[in-house]
């Protein structure tokens, strides 16, 4: 499959600084997004440190598979997912240690959601309330669970999803990077198929733009960079209460000629660096 991606970030309409951070590492098909928090400029430090740590750890592991692994990733995961969990765990340590060493940074933290694609296998690692979504056959499914108080309340049946959207406690996180010396990292693996669209975003998008608006935009705008910018524009039109960051990743079929459709499993031929055009 051919992977095309785009990403953008914006300060929004209310905030004066942007504490979000994201990276597209196209050579590895690694996508990382983080939303920082903390007074002064410390949220920016936390999210930048989170993204930088994850990217660096994964790049190192690409050239040296024996590089140390942190945080005891679950044994049933594949090597890339384990590496991604290890990277997020390390990011937590780095932010926590930085805050310990610099008292003025005390209380800073960050969310982190990372996707890593190898052929048709997607690895996900996640802490906080940034989100990963998958748009497939017209349906938008959230691939991550928010580590927020309101999401936990919905899961326990204490409040409904619509009450959660109205709640004033939406910004209260139960898990984030950098606030404790240890962190539990969510991880998961998924099979990817041609025409899948992945979305990574900070809560500045999901609080301002509804799921149907997101799904509609991703379907209408097939250029991932333009789709990311369009989503940010909609969030800003709707108020832009927070920083907004969006990464859009599209998986495209490689053209193999009409015969490929007759081969069993013809639609799963995967390659991460295809050169032929789409479909």
């Amino acid at each position: 499959m051919r992977i095309v991606c785009g990403g953008a970030t914006d300060v929004g309409q209310v905030r004066s600084n942007n504490e979000d951070c994201f990276r597209l590492v196209e050579s590895l098909n690694l996508f990382v997004l983080s939303d920082g928090m903390g007074g002064e400029a410390h949220g920016e430090i936390a999210s930048a440190l989170a993204v930088e740590t994850v990217v660096k750890h994964c790049i190192e592991a690409e050239s040296n598979a024996a590089a140390p692994t942190y945080g005891n990733p679950p044994p049933n995961l594949n090597a890339s997912t384990k590496r991604l969990v290890s990277a997020v765990y390390l990011a937590n340590k780095n932010i926590f240690n930085s805050a310990e060493a610099h008292p003025e940074q005390s209380g800073m933290g960050a969310t982190l959601t990372a996707l890593w694609i190898h052929d048709n296998a997607l690895s996900i690692a996640h802490v906080g309330d940034s989100r990963a979504y998958l748009l497939r056959t017209g349906m938008l499914e959230q691939l991550t669970s928010d580590h927020s108080l309101v999401a936990e309340q919905v899961r326990r049946g204490i409040i409904t999803a619509s009450e959660a959207e109205q709640s004033e406690m939406q910004s209260v996180l139960l898990r984030a990077l950098g606030t404790q010396s240890e962190v539990e990292v969510d991880s998961e693996e998924q099979a990817l198929f041609p025409h899948d669209v992945l979305l990574l975003c900070s809560d500045g998008l999901t609080r301002m733009v509804t799921d149907p608006e997101i799904a509609g935009t991703l379907q209408a705008e097939t250029n991932p960079q333009k789709a990311a910018e369009r989503l940010i524009a909609i969030a800003n039109e709707n108020g832009g209460a927070d920083n907004i960051s969006v990464i859009v990743i599209r998986l495209e079929d490689e053209s193999k000629g009409w015969l490929s459709w007759l081969l069993p499993g013809g639609r799963k031929h995967a390659s991460s660096n295809g050169s032929a055009g789409g479909h």
């Binding site: 669970s145 936990e152 999803a161 799963k268």
Partner: protein, 241 residues
Amino acid sequence: MPKLSLMFEGRTVKEVPIGSRPVTIGRSPDNDIPVDNLAVSNHHARVYYEGSRLVVEDLDSLNGTFVNDLRIERATLHDGDSIHVGKHSIKVDASHDAPMPYDMGRKAAAPSINETMVLDTKVRRDMLQQAAAMGERTQFASGRFKVPTVIVLSGKTASQEYVLTNKLTTIGKSSMATVRLTGWFKPQMAAQISQRDDGYYIGPGDKTPTVNGTPIPGPTRLNDGDIIEVSGVRMNFIFRE
């Protein structure tokens, strides 16, 4: 100070204030609230403050502790609740000077929070424990802890039974599909089941599955016992205890 009132046949028999020490309830006379009844265990239950929240805990009693008619192992108490042990009830009065317990069940007038924050360890522990206590209540009411499971009734698949642990479970021929279909001409991704905050939903892939014989119009919430059919495979979706 908040207090517990032991009631019997509508009369107040005894009142005990709740301080920093747990209040014990049981048949043995060394309890703060001794209840002379054979249905009550020697050391039956205790009530105490955990942070700002008032908790009742059953001490493995034989006949159980009930809060407002729901059997509990551990539960958060609110002003006006009734604890039942044997034939006696104990009224909870937390209205006087009681530290206001943070109630996850009701929408309290919370301060508006614009800045993202992480609950510090103590507050977080309290809130999660409270949520856990409420979870125990609801779980107790509906049975036991339940695991979503797909059982294959007919058709060719790699296994007969799948526990849904992922956010997204794919059903198809793909080597990475969770419920892997085997045999000729099966679609790579026939359908998928997604875990959302409010339940499990089945959606179409290359095929449109049926649920209880009806083709689904879009993502459809699954109920315990539903029969799913897609690509010649019949499956039963259940919450296994």
